[in-house]
């Protein structure tokens, strides 16, 4: 691995992506939503004589975290769709790949750079929320739970960016965006359903759709389950050693996804 070139290309990705107009719009929109939500919370606290402000603040913060997570899903898809596609659109891909860089190194730099931007977006939004909520509530928001929830959200963002970058190579951006949103919702719904079945009923009554659902369930990182971990962490549930199997599966499935992406990209003709 040529870490020097990966570092330069990662910086280049960050410089390229933070100018993304769609991202800028969503960022301003998010800050607006956070500000309005805080004002609403303040209004409720002051006008409805609620004395347990900390409790309301905590609940509000939990809801805001989920809202920011949902918005981060969209920003991750946008960043993923753009991070490699824009090199093709600007015709700079052939010049970049003419450097002594392996294609997998190029992918790592682009995906990692986009992920850093997505994380900054997420952390800034959370930081702003904490700041605003601390003005209207006496709750303490910065703790280990928030840290764990952010890590699990970060993992989902990385998966989504990888998946988006992959799909963007073959399908136009708008269609890719729609497909990914549908895919995210679909795998979330089927994932929740399969998770609720339990191991003994998982392979019972197999139909074509169930086989497809099981394929995604076993061979893709389970983003819905990771989301539920974020929520549980925020609700104060500690990291449990029994969760290691899930995190291990998530990690292996992500490595498989990324390797598949790398393999197909290395075969792609420019």
């Amino acid at each position: 691995m040529n870490l020097g070139i990966i570092k330069i290309l990662t910086e280049n990705t960050i410089a390229k992506e933070y100018r993304n107009k769609a991202l800028l719009f969503i960022f301003i929109f998010t800050l607006g939503v956070i500000t309005l939500s805080t004002m609403l919370l303040d209004f409720i606290n002051k006008n409805f004589n609620i004395t347990e402000g900390a409790q309301i603040g905590d609940k509000g913060f939990f809801i805001m975290f989920l809202a920011i997570s949902a918005i981060s899903t969209v920003t991750s898809i946008i960043l993923g769709l753009n991070c490699i596609k824009s090199d093709f659109e600007s015709s700079s891909i052939s010049q970049i790949l003419a450097f002594p860089i392996k294609r997998i190194e190029f992918l790592i730099a682009r995906v990692f750079g986009a992920w850093i931007i997505a994380l900054i977006f997420f952390l800034f939004s959370i930081g702003y929320t904490i700041l605003m909520f601390s003005l209207t509530s006496s709750g303490t928001f910065i703790n280990g739970s928030l840290f764990l929830a952010t890590i699990s959200m970060g993992a989902n963002m990385l998966t989504l960016i990888t998946l988006s970058a992959f799909i963007s190579l073959y399908i136009p951006k708008l269609f890719s965006f729609i497909i990914l949103m549908v895919f995210r919702t679909y795998t979330a719904a089927t994932g929740s359903y399969l998770m609720s079945l339990g191991p003994d009923k998982l392979f019972a009554d197999l139909s074509v759709f169930k086989v497809i659902n099981l394929f995604f369930y076993f061979f893709f990182p389970r983003m819905q389950e990771m989301d539920s971990y974020s929520k549980r962490f925020l609700e104060g549930v500690d990291f449990d050693i029994s969760s290691l199997a899930f995190f291990g599966h998530y990690f292996v499935a992500f490595v498989i996804l990324f390797s598949l992406f790398g393999l197909l990209f290395s075969r792609k003709e420019i």
Binding site: G4, R19, S94, Q95, L97, P100
Partner: protein
């Protein structure tokens, strides 16, 4: 520096390169000539590992082109140089310098030197989308000059340039070629410029090499234009 042994490239049923063999020695200024659609760009893309060969062996700096290490010290200028538009002229050249391992004051000095050499130092703060086509192509050349590339690959470098820009570019290539350690590989269909600056050539048509060798020996007094016309017409 470049060795192609019976290479072929198919796009579906279309044979873009058909059993091509040629070699380019260190220090040579080599022209790959041919009409449009002859397979010249496919050859260049194969050299850079951008497309994958269907058959044969292609070595760059003694290494298989599939090995990224083969591209160390190789500079490439595509037919129409373009890069991310948010870059300034300076930033773009600096990026290429960085990617070639330059740092700190050396990077700054070499960037300024390269910009100066191709006459774009005055527009160094302008963004790439606000400069003319000629200035953009010169910026592209500056990206080659910023680092000490031992092999320079130029894909249709004169395409779309006005006569003044062609003259300037020719002078720059001549300067690049004056370094006996540096190899210059030019892929072009504009013959008038090639005769004066190249030592060796190969003529490609419909994916096949028609001739390959020293420019003087092949032409034996004839003009390149006449030689090329006769050869391609006869085929």
């Amino acid at each position: 520096m470049i060795v192609a042994e019976s290479i072929s490239k198919k796009y579906g049923k279309y044979l873009a390169l058909d059993n091509v063999s040629l070699s380019v020695k260190k220090g040579e200024v080599f022209a790959l000539l041919g009409p449009n659609g002859a397979g010249k760009t496919t050859f260049v893309k194969s050299l850079l590992g951008l497309v994958h060969l269907s058959e044969g062996k292609l070595l760059l700096r003694g290494k298989e082109v599939s090995d990224a290490e083969s591209r160390v010290g190789v500079g490439y200028l595509p037919e129409k140089f373009s890069f991310h538009n948010y870059y300034t002229v300076y930033g773009c050249v600096e990026f290429f310098g960085k990617m070639n391992g330059l740092k700190g004051s050396e990077l700054r000095d070499k960037t300024l030197e390269a910009l100066d050499k191709v006459g774009v130092a005055e527009i160094s703060t302008k963004k790439l989308d606000s400069i003319s086509k000629g200035q953009l192509q010169r910026t592209g050349i500056a990206t080659l000059l910023v680092s000490d590339n031992q092999l320079i690959i130029l894909d249709e470098p004169f395409s779309g340039l006005d006569p003044l820009a062609i003259k300037e570019l020719k002078d720059i290539i001549a300067k690049l070629a004056s370094d006996s350690e540096r190899t210059v590989f030019i892929n072009s269909h504009i013959l008038s410029e090639m005769e004066k600056i190249c030592d060796s050539m190969a003529i490609l048509d419909k994916g096949k090499v028609l001739v390959s060798g020293k420019m003087g020996e092949l032409l034996s007094g004839a003009s390149l234009e006449d030689y090329f016309y006769k050869l391609v017409k006869d085929v």
